[in-house]
Symmetry: C2
Subunit: 328 residues, 2 copies
């Protein structure tokens, strides 16, 4: 398997990306194609010993920043690592593309160069989120801030295929993020989406309130990219600020310091379970190619996990399954 | 001061409400008027000894459930505790009304019976949320799922007055919940709201991303009732499910059990700081009366805190300040 990785994407690129890639090839049967500024990639690679034939480099002269206008990726900076990487998927011998870079830019490049799967109008970023037992796919977490109700129907169909083939849930259920459990709750958009899902979505179980988002109510949970992005950013910020407050409280008492020391394993296990950046990657579903978005702050381990997640999508032939299943 | 409390509102009513009221009159210089089914209130009150002249009862024959249609409060169940309580505010001698009951019903009754302050078209529920240092007012957290951009401008104006007079922030700043920091982010609604706020909102500081919601970016943070409700419910659910996972992890190791024991003070302090239900009440701003919404799962302490919060609003004469300041 040959997976393309954006060497320049993310807050700690290319360092963390290269470290994650080296770890991945040692653990998984995969060849990685690193795309980006060749000199900088080589400088990072020189820090490691690894099987040289398992990492290739393709030069891309430009770098897209997190603050760049997404459309620059396909306009002013066509020779950036995102555009070059995405375009490789149109050739045989490149199975998937992973980037921790500019989300909007990745969505724009993937949509523009790869085009949509038939039956899908807009791509959605699905994020595998932890549940009290198991996992669920939350979609969309930020590809399209303002979708139409029919796009949520498409997200649900794609998420079902993803959960079925990659995660192994036999007949996944679908829920809608809403501020009340009953039909008729929410804004006009949610009311319309509810109607449409009830009519056309197999295994639609109704609304999922945000306080039950981790309770295993549904295997696939659909929402607008605005709401999904609010959800993932809020959790990130809440964990951070709770951490700040906890540290401050612990420092007040020697017993608590000892307590935190004894609990550190459990606290880390919890953090690992709830910190979605550790999951490695969020699939961009709907485009004609296997594309994975990693968190901008991805650690080497997160990059390695993203590579593994992309490999699973390739192994399970998810693209073909989407192409044949979502039409209609 | 005389504060009206809905005895029948909330998941543990009238028990928790009456317990909180009894605690409040012992601590604060206030008289409470309990509205609801007289027999049931008396039965609860009989459990306590307290100065009898400081609690009055006004009978209301009907009870609104959490699942009732909000409009039933002003249609089929006019004699419910919410409607009777709200209507008391139109008479002299009743300073504020607090309910832990059906949110939609409370908003409907307050809007219908009290009418809006001049210059305000829609009420908003403001919630005082913790910041890494201090607090901020998040508005709206669920009065109006689908406001217009001008309603967010009105929310900002009201929240500024609230933060200034009740919390004591000299010249409060205002931010907009959005999925990016820069202008032009979000859906069409956020783009329009940004423009309007930039033009007309004093001390507008721009967008606040959800991962920075607790970082002290702005004193007042405006959003649609849909987004605000997603935010508060998500945090509630996240805390709950993280707690489940933490307990499970701790139980795996004896050292961690001891650690949790030693840390319990710090953990409780954090929970208290982040659990907004402990703050007691969220003011319903914009109506011609001081109305406070308490969490449906309010503890007696939360009810007591809500009474104190309502007292502060009365003391600071917030209604007159709103009436004279928000016009225009």
């Amino acid at each position: 398997m040959r997976i393309v990785v954006d060497a320049m994407g993310g807050d700690h690129a290319p360092g963390n990306v290269v470290a994650g890639v080296v770890a991945a090839i040692k653990e998984f049967p995969v060849t990685i194609i690193l795309v980006g500024i060749e000199d900088r990639i080589k400088a990072e690679l020189s820090k490691y010993s690894y099987p040289k034939d398992r990492i290739e480099i393709i030069h891309a002269s430009k770098v897209v920043d997190m603050d760049d206008n997404p459309l620059d990726v396909i306009r002013k900076k066509k020779d950036c690592s995102i555009s070059v990487g995405v375009n490789l998927l149109k050739q045989p011998g490149y199975d998937a593309f992973i980037s921790a870079g500019n989300t909007g830019g990745l969505v724009a490049a993937a949509t523009f160069y790869l085009r949509m799967i038939e039956g899908i109008d807009r791509p959605g970023i699905g994020l595998v989120i932890p549940q009290v037992n198991g996992v669920a796919c939350l979609i969309d977490v930020g590809a399209n801030a303002e979708p139409k109700p029919e796009h949520l129907l498409q997200y649900g169909r794609m998420a079902r295929i993803y959960m079925q083939s990659v995660i192994g849930v036999a007949d996944p259920t679908v829920g809608l993020v809403n501020i009340g459990e009953e039909e008729g709750k929410g804004s006009g958009f949610e009311k319309q989406a509810y109607q449409l899902l009830q009519e056309k979505m197999p295994r639609f179980i109704g609304n999922v309130e945000p306080n039950k988002l981790f309770m295993g109510k549904a295997d696939c949970i659909v929402c607008t990219g605005f709401v999904g992005n609010v959800i993932i950013k809020l959790i990130e910020g809440f964990m951070e600020s709770t951490g700040v407050v906890l540290k401050r409280e612990v420092k007040k008492k020697p017993f608590a310091i000892l307590g935190a020391f004894l609990m550190r394993g459990a606290l880390k296990a919890v953090q690992k379970k709830v910190d979605y950046s550790e999951y490695g990657g969020a699939p961009l579903l709907g485009v004609n190619g296997i594309v994975m978005k990693s968190h901008g702050r991805s650690s080497p381990k997160a990059i390695k996990n993203a590579i593994r997640a992309a490999m699973r999508e390739v192994e399970h032939n998810i693209l073909d399954k989407m192409r044949s299943a979502v039409v209609g």
